[in-house]
């Protein structure tokens, strides 16, 4: 049985920068998405084809979901790129991570590919981006002082305490977001490795389906939590 590593392993290095197998698959995922977007851009037409129809359907359902959360279509369109990119990128990474060859193809002693979200750097980067960007959006929409006033409130001891709790919860969000995604995907990878080791044929199939499901759900959860915190930070001026 292969050794299960908690961290992504370095497969080669460019100068002093060590490229890990997790980063390698992340780059592949981004490359696939960039190539797809370049191809898709040239195919956008007034009368949609099958591909455009499918993409539009997804985009419109996400837009509608965002509209119901944020309250207006204008806001939904404004924050759509962030939410959609988080969702699409995590989803693509998770789905690529289940493909055969990930974890089994070797580059020397280490596996060549690793599910990107099974590398804490990936999930932590997303979580930090999510929290920082949502706070910046909050500052931009309700004003920097008003937004920071939520965390540093000196009106009274209770308000101050609540403000500190809010501040801590933002950091807790980074940890919960990153470890939730990391934990789910890493656990899935471990599970699949074990199942494939125990019973290589047919038995792993339901677990593969489960992992596809988990990958999609985790991508969705990550995007939704970001969406909800945008909604909380932008709607703060209303009450």
């Amino acid at each position: 049985m292969e050794e299960i590593s908690l961290k992504a392993q370095q497969i080669f290095s460019i100068g002093s920068f060590g490229v890990t197998n997790g980063l390698f698959l992340t780059l592949i995922a981004s490359l696939i998405l960039i190539i797809f977007s370049l191809y898709f851009k040239s195919k956008i037409k007034m009368i949609p084809g099958k591909l455009q129809g499918a993409v539009e359907m997804g985009a419109e359902s996400l837009l509608n979901l965002m509209e119901s959360t944020l309250g207006s279509m204008a806001a939904a369109e404004k924050y759509f790129p962030l939410i959609a990119t988080i969702f699409i990128f995590i989803l693509t990474s998770n789905l690529l991570g289940i493909l055969p060859g990930v974890g089994s193809l070797s580059f020397g002693e280490t596996p060549l590919l690793r599910s990107p979200a099974a590398d804490l750097n990936f999930t932590l980067a997303f979580a930090v981006i999510s929290v920082i960007v949502t706070n910046i959006i909050g500052m931009a929409s309700v004003g920097a002082f008003k937004h920071l006033g939520k965390y540093f409130n000196f009106k009274g001891p209770i308000d101050f305490f609540i403000g500190m709790l809010e501040l801590i919860s933002e950091f807790a969000k980074i940890i919960s977001l990153s470890f939730r995604l990391f934990g789910n995907v890493f656990a899935g990878e471990v599970l699949l490795t074990i199942i494939f080791f125990l019973a290589p044929y047919f038995i792993p199939l339901p677990f593969l389906f489960l992992e596809i499901f988990v990958g999609a759900i985790q991508a969705f959860i990550f995007a939704m939590i970001t969406l909800v915190s945008i909604s909380l930070h932008t709607a703060a001026n209303e009450h």
């Binding site: 961290k7 060590g18 977007s37 851009k41 956008i44 007034m46 369109e77 990128f89 750097n121 980067a125």
Partner: protein
Amino acid sequence: MENELLFQLGINWKLFLSQAINFFILLVVLTFFVYKPLIKVIKERNQKIKTGLDKAEEATARLKEIDNIGKEKIKEAEQKGIEMIKETENRAKILDKENIEKLEKKQKEAQELLKKSILKQQEEAKNKVLTEAGELIKKVIIKTVELKPEAIDEALIKKAVLEVKDEK
């Protein structure tokens, strides 16, 4: 201690940064190549559909209006036609009456004229006959005077008459 924990979890600021940069590159690429054109196209299409539907509604409303106008015009035209026919009929009646009266008048005049001329002719004829008869009698008397008055009998008179006739 802290670094030990981060190392155990595989956290490496270089990798972290590369992942973040990677995300932002992807965000920019997807925004400019997929989201914006896609949303633009969706909006344009929705706009087109909306204007199309609006125009269709307008067109049906117009059509109805035009239909109503046409019906009204036809009604008007019918009424006008009926009025015109009535008027011409009335006029014709009036004209007929006048004409008939005129004709009757003319007829009467003509009849009177005819009567007059007939009477005149008759009178003229009478006068002519009378003058001719007078002359004839004169001539007959002259002839009878030239003949022997004794032999005045009817045969002679006849003869004289015959002669006068022959002379004539």
